[in-house]
Symmetry: C2
Subunit: 205 residues, 2 copies
DNA sequence: TCATTTCTTGAGCGATCGACCAAGAAGTTC
DNA sequence: GAACTTCTTGGTCGATCGCTCAAGAAATGA
């Protein structure tokens, strides 16, 4: 059997825990954002030298990509998708999204807010790709919300007269505003009140 | 009469238009944020050499301070304060704030969104002061809104049962979310719809 | 055993960062 | 005119940026 079949890797094995290193990098990018996090910040937090970092992740954008994929597996990066996958109604999904956001955004176990929302807002021309990457992610999420609202509308949950795109954009703005508020020090109860107020405009009847 | 009395300045006069230079710097900081804007970016946009910049503004944080003060004098930086100074009711002030934000945030004459909201979200430890400066500004603005709501409550505009702090935090989140949406490409009509939906939760009766 | 493969180390690459300074230029004051 | 003050120019500072590479270390395959 060849190495590729057995899965045993030739050569010197990696000397560090890749998942733990990615977790450390995630925390840094989440806290400071993409550009304000330097390679030496990363190597120090990950406990490795730059050579190992580049061998394992390619370059800085490559590491950030890996971090984004790891983030998607964390509760903080998955709860919105889980809400939309599991809740029976459009309102149930949106309500769960905002209420869980209030809790997740302020969880002291990790940096505040949503990484996708806040990790690449200030970026120099050399790194526009990263800004566009997250911007596109945010905009695609709004489309996902709008599509779910449309489905709910087709199922009779929402009146035909409701502008689902406007509603989706509104909840996206609230979500992103809550993330910013969390980074500015808002606590869970404030964000929960914001969520409830935002949900109060849901068109009923 | 001494020079200080006449206002005539001794020595070689400044060779550039200070206001125009500050305007150019404002545009850059607004677009890219504090840290992603380099001194050489600034000198190029302002049409001066670094020596002139440091002579006129001290250092990079000093220039940013000057830019913030100039921003306060622009419509984009003043409209919220004007709304709260001129509108007769708390609701009138909040409504005007959000409706004008929809227009100002998407005005193609300048960068999208609110500079105070978005110019220093990603920052390295060396520049935390700038992050804290804007964060404190944002949090003070929420206190201003809450105080206005409290006054409106005392005047009978709002029921005693209304939690004005929660309401102020909610509108702050919507405002900041609208700014982020504008930077992500949202147009005026989307933001206006978001503003109207947000205003629909205002407690009546 | 020994060649092969992969990873780590440590030094260092060119470029850019924010900031500074001496010299000269361009004004006012006397 | 000379003295004084302020600003601009051009060069340069040490530090850091993201990144690379040769040499050595540690595993597997034959």
């Amino acid at each position: 059997m060849s190495a590729s079949e057995t899965g045993t890797r030739r050569g010197r094995p990696r000397g560090f825990d890749r998942d733990a290193a990615v977790a450390a990098a995630t925390r840094l990018f989440w806290e400071r954002g993409y550009e304000a996090t330097s390679i030496s910040d990363l190597t120090e937090a990950m406990g490795i030298r730059s050579g190992s970092l580049y061998a394992a992740f390619g370059d800085k954008p490559g590491l950030f990509q890996t971090v984004l994929e790891a983030y998607r597996e964390l509760p903080s990066g998955a709860f919105v998708y889980e809400a939309f996958a599991e809740e029976a109604t459009a309102f149930g999904a949106v309500a769960r999204m905002l209420r869980e956001a209030a809790q997740v955004f302020t969880d002291p176990a990790h940096p505040a807010g949503c990484m996708v929302t806040n990790a690449a807002t200030n970026v120099s021309p050399a790194n526009v790709e990263v800004l566009e990457l997250l911007r596109d992610k945010r905009n695609r999420n709004i489309v996902m919300v709008a599509d779910r609202l449309r489905a709910g509308q087709a199922a009779g949950e929402l009146a035909r007269s409701v502008d689902v795109d406007a509603l989706a954009a509104y909840y996206a703005a609230v979500y992103q505003g809550m993330s910013q508020r969390a980074r500015d020090g808002a606590d869970e109860s404030e964000l929960l009140q914001t969520a409830e107020l935002a949900l109060a405009v849901w068109p009923r009847g």
